[in-house]
C-alpha cells in the first residue's frame, strides 16, 4: 500500500500527458459554435446580383440549405469554390451565399471568373449578419435543416474530406 504512494506522481503525470496529447491534436483556431441546433439567426440583406432581391431566411424555403459566407478577397474561398460549383451542378443542396465585407463589383467579377453556385446571395457589407451567425472569418459554412435550424458549422474551406465525412451524410439525413 505504501509503495503505491510513490506511483501517484507517475499517475498524475500520465493523466496530464493524456490531456496534452488530446489537446495538441486539436486545432485551437476551431471554436465550438453555440449555434448548433438553434434556429438560424434572422437576417435581411440586399441582394448582390441583379434580380436577387432582398435575401433573408425566407430564401431557405423550407429546404436543406448550405449557407456559405465568402468574399472575393478571401484566398481560401477560392480553394473551396470548385467544390461548391460541383454541388450546384449536381443539385445536391441549395447554396445561399453571404458576401462578407466585399465590394459588389469585386464579388460579381469573382463569380464571373470562377462561376456562380449560389441560389441567392446577400451582401453583408458591414459584416453584421456574419456576427449574428457567429462568423469569425471567411469562409464559413453552415447547414440549415428544413425547419430552419443550424445543424452543422464548418470554419475554413470545405475540403473533400469534410464534405465526405461530415457534410454529405448530414445533408442526406436532413433531406429525408
Amino acid at each position: 500500500m505504501k509503495r503505491l504512494v510513490f506511483l501517484l506522481p507517475l499517475l498524475i503525470l500520465v493523466v496530464v500527458a493524456g490531456f496534452f496529447l488530446v489537446g495538441f491534436e486539436r486545432d485551437p483556431r476551431l471554436i465550438p459554435s453555440p449555434m448548433i441546433d438553434k434556429p438560424a439567426p434572422a437576417f435581411s440583406l440586399a441582394g448582390l446580383r441583379n434580380g436577387d432581391g432582398p435575401v433573408s431566411n425566407a430564401r431557405f424555403d423550407g429546404k436543406v440549405t448550405l449557407v456559405n459566407f465568402f468574399a472575393s478577397w478571401c484566398v481560401p474561398c477560392r480553394v473551396e469554390h470548385p467544390l461548391l460549383m460541383e454541388l450546384a451542378r449536381a443539385g445536391t443542396v441549395q447554396i445561399v451565399g453571404i458576401n462578407y465585407k466585399d465590394k459588389p463589383q469585386d464579388a460579381l467579377g469573382w463569380l464571373r471568373q470562377l462561376g456562380d453556385p449560389y441560389t441567392a446571395i446577400g451582401a453583408d457589407n458591414d459584416g453584421r449578419a456574419a456576427i449574428d451567425w457567429g462568423v469569425y472569418g471567411v469562409p464559413e459554412s453552415y447547414l440549415v435543416d428544413k425547419q430552419g435550424r443550424i445543424r452543422f458549422k464548418h470554419v475554413g474551406p470545405i475540403t473533400e474530406d469534410v464534405w465526405r465525412k461530415d457534410m454529405q451524410p448530414m445533408i442526406k439525413e436532413l433531406s429525408r
Partner: protein, 157 residues
C-alpha cells in the same frame, strides 16, 4: 530640471494605453465608455485568440468593440452585452472562463492539487525521525580508549 522630469512623468502617466480603440469609436459619455472598455478587456478577439478586443487591431475586434458600445448606448446592462456575444460565439469569447459544470475541474484543480501537495508534505515530514534519533550513537568504551590513544600521540598515528 526636476520640474521638467515631473512634467514628463505626469504626461506619460496620463497617456495610459488606450488599447486599439480608435478615437472615432469612443463614446461621448465617459461613464459608458469606461464600461465599454472594462467589458472589452474581458472579451477575446476571436481571430487573434489571446488578445482582448480592446487590444486588437483586427477588423472583427473593431466590429465587436463597436457593437459593445452600441448595446451600452441602447441601455443594455454589462451582463446583457456579454450575453449578446456569448449567444453568438459561445463562452470562448470570454477571456475568463465562467464557473459551470463543464469548467468546474478547471477552477477547482489548482486548489485540489495544492491540498494534495500539502497532505503529501505533511505525511513526509511526519515520517522523518526526530533530531535525537538522527544523532550518532555514543562511543563505546573500546572506541573511547582508542580515541584517547590517538589524541595522546599528538596526531601521529
Amino acid at each position: 530640471m526636476t520640474r521638467l522630469a515631473l512634467a514628463v512623468v505626469l504626461a506619460l502617466l496620463a497617456a495610459s494605453p488606450a488599447g486599439a480603440v480608435m478615437p472615432n469609436e469612443v463614446l461621448k459619455d465617459p461613464v459608458l465608455e469606461l464600461r465599454a472598455r472594462e467589458i472589452s478587456k474581458d472579451l477575446r478577439c476571436l481571430v487573434c485568440q489571446n488578445q482582448s478586443i480592446d487590444d486588437s487591431d483586427a477588423p472583427l475586434a473593431r466590429d465587436l468593440r463597436v457593437i459593445v458600445r452600441e448595446r451600452l448606448a441602447a441601455g443594455d446592462s454589462d451582463g446583457q452585452v456579454v450575453k449578446f456575444l456569448t449567444d453568438r460565439y459561445g463562452d470562448y469569447v470570454l477571456l475568463r472562463p465562467p464557473v459551470k459544470a463543464t469548467t468546474i475541474v478547471l477552477w477547482t484543480a489548482p486548489v485540489a492539487l495544492l491540498l494534495l501537495a500539502l497532505l503529501a508534505a505533511r505525511s513526509v515530514l511526519r515520517r522523518r525521525p526526530a533530531d535525537a534519533e538522527l544523532a550518532p550513537a555514543p562511543l563505546s568504551d573500546a572506541e573511547r580508549q582508542r580515541l584517547s590513544q590517538i589524541l595522546s600521540k599528538g596526531g601521529q598515528a
